[in-house]
Symmetry: C2
Subunit: 427 residues, 2 copies
């Protein structure tokens, strides 16, 4: 709680942040029942006012089409009655999750008789900066409410009408449930200036979570004085060890790369141990070809590709650092597990790396040496996900080391405080 | 692990950071025995080379005296053979603490049979920026080593000779123990520019912990692109509730204020419920006078002070936000517990606040509503301390909400990673 001096005339963004800060004080001590009742009211209101939401969304969609936006982006922007029902159902799921607030993380009686407890408390005000997916608006609001936080939502201007409608519905439902409506607010203004103001609102905003493209995230990380949780960039690797089972390696590779190419936990680079290259690469290259994947190959992989049906192009250094998010993969042969680790250490974004091996020793060494949010052994990189990990929900995947690393569920939206209880204890 | 491009000619600070980053990779997988052996070697070397350390320190002390430095600061700077023995003994204590690295924080078998484990890992490279206390040099190095981190130490230029000698001893001992000497480095250069470079070394340095004055901490928080853990500022409050036991209230107040005035967990403001003011204030004012404390009083406290032996001056708004770190306390009468909470919410630095009360309901409400690292009930604010909490050691007291809050022990110097183990699992 850094002290903040509020100027006489507040900008719209700082006014919103101040209101959020005040709303957060009201949310923090709320019992679970009050928060869950509000979430269920939000779900009901989303269903009751679907028509209004879909109509607002239609204006965003029309504007996007007129602007010549790519159809895949328009699809992510679009809300149908069915999608609104799915959003409402997700809100109910969040209501059903355990409340992280109040959990005793550590506790003991000290030698002098003092009772010490470390308990989870809300962070306070969470700012989310995201792109054109209106479902994130409600998801983020629900997760923040459940964890006792107020939220400032800064969505894409291309979803402004949709977000305004959704947040209006959420706020009305909160008010009817007796919670402060200002617990959920859209950040006013559609320009980049509003993001900049949010990043300087230290003392009013407790954390910023940027979700979206690499350039947005870099800007926030570099310019924000509000603490940031960096999310999302995933230059993930699959390393096929000398001792890999070939069928397993092909399955894990294809699933990691091609199950869904536009997501951060998709594989972007394949590393193959030299001793298994002759046996593995022909199978792998054909399977990648069948999945429609273009291979950006080093010299050794290129040589193997001549006799395959794969689409192959020569790789240069830039391929090792590229997060394609497309039907492309970089591929190289390495001399050892340690060389694979060195490659990953140099080029990875630290999201998820997989090893395929039957060797317990290799698995142990790889998991010890690789410094990423998640290391998988004989499993697809696609498992790095709050839903897959059983968290019930996810506000993003942190690729930083401080506070939260990997998929973030409700506990990652909390801080802690210590409660020290004595009988007049002094030092 | 953000990617970093290393320019052809590195500055001395970035060279040190790059070496630390490389050393950190070697430290991370070390078993506890190797780290503890190195720490014991450091302790032995400190004892064996005490003469050399004390001589180097004498140069700093002479320089400080010549510059007319206050005697209290000179005292904190001074190393005697006895103090070096105490530092060596602290290093042995750190060796005896459990290793946080490898601890499984969460673990389960998912419904699909995947084994999921969240394991503690070192942060990587920790940068510590601190003032003229050479004992911090060795303390911080020991805690970082034990938790598998490399450390970059940026001490005060006034302790440069002492720090150079101490770090030389530590590095020699590490090398003899087979650990990378670059795990412990002094940041080269004595100017502010070296701090600035450290703050921009994102991707090489994983976290910066500034320990020291408010202006240093503010600069680091505002200018650093490396994640920061804010420490130290403590504008702590003692609230004496309507239902307080008067003897307990006087004891807790005097201990919180006067046990040691120069520390961040000392009380700086007294808030008294109106209903107990007549009974409590005469006793409190006399006790504060006996302890040599000047009271910066609001109108109601001033009125009570007329009949006491207290030294009293009228308070203005600036008193509510001042961390005196001296024999001074601000004092005000409030109408209710909620008004005390509102005062704390407005003015506190969020470090530690105490309530003295016999009412279970008041204790519960105060601990729920006050949003600080630590809330004490019938106990001195002075208990907010890693040693008192039983952590065995402390790298500082975080006053921020992200990553670590309150006293930071070894677990707070770690991050986590997820290890996902399957049998060829795909989605």
């Amino acid at each position: 709680m850094t002290q903040h001096r509020v100027p006489a005339e507040l900008s719209p963004v700082l006014t919103a942040a101040t209101r959020a800060h005040e709303a957060a004080a009201g949310l923090a001590p709320l019992p679970r029942a009050a928060k869950d009742a509000a979430l269920l009211a939000v779900a009901d209101a989303l269903l009751a006012r679907t028509q209004e939401i879909v109509e607002a969304n239609a204006r965003d969609v029309e504007r996007a089409r007129t602007a010549g936006t790519a159809e895949s982006v328009v699809d992510r922007l679009t809300l149908t009655p069915e999608r609104v029902r799915a959003i409402a159902s997700d809100v109910r799921d969040v209501a059903a999750l355990p409340d992280p607030v109040g959990e005793v993380v550590r506790g003991s009686t000290l030698p002098n008789g003092i009772d010490l407890r470390q308990v989870r408390v809300p962070l306070g005000v969470v700012g989310i900066i995201y792109e054109a997916r209106p479902n994130v608006t409600v998801d983020a609001a629900a997760l923040c409410l459940k964890s006792g936080n107020a939220v400032l939502l800064r969505g894409s201007s291309s979803a402004y009408a949709s977000n305004t409608a959704l947040v209006g519905v959420v706020r009305d439902a909160l008010e009817e449930a007796g919670l402060p409506a200002d617990a959920v607010q859209l950040v006013p203004g559609e320009s980049r200036d509003s993001v900049r103001e949010l990043m300087r609102a230290r003392g009013l905003v407790d954390v910023l979570i940027p979700r979206g493209g690499a350039s947005l995230i870099r800007t926030v990380v570099e310019e924000s004085t509000v603490p940031v949780i960096e999310t999302g960039t995933g230059n993930c690797h699959v390393y096929v060890d000398a001792a890999a089972d070939i069928d397993t390696a092909v399955d894990v590779l294809i699933n990691s790369k091609a199950h869904r190419v536009s997501v951060c936990n998709a594989a972007e680079t394949l590393l193959v141990h030299r001793d298994i290259a002759d046996a593995f690469l022909p199978r792998a290259l054909d399977a990648l070809a069948d999945a429609g994947v273009t291979v950006h190959a080093d010299a050794t992989v290129l040589a193997h590709a001549e006799s395959s049906k794969a689409t192959v192009v020569p790789a240069d250094e830039s391929d090792w650092e590229t997060e394609y998010l497309s039907y492309d993969i970089a591929a190289a042969v390495v001399d050892s597990l340690d060389d694979a680790v060195a490659h990953i250490r140099r080029w990875s974004s630290g999201h998820t790396e997989a090893i395929v091996t039957t060797s317990q020793g290799a698995a142990r060494r790889f998991t010890q040496l690789v410094d990423s949010t998640t290391v998988t052994v004989n499993a697809s990189t696609r498992f790095t996900d709050g839903g897959q990990f059983g968290f019930g929900a996810e506000i993003g995947i942190s690729t930083q080391k401080l506070h939260a690393r990997g998929p973030m569920g409700l506990p990652e939206l909390t801080s802690t405080k210590y409660i020290v209880t004595g009988d007049g204890h002094i030092r």
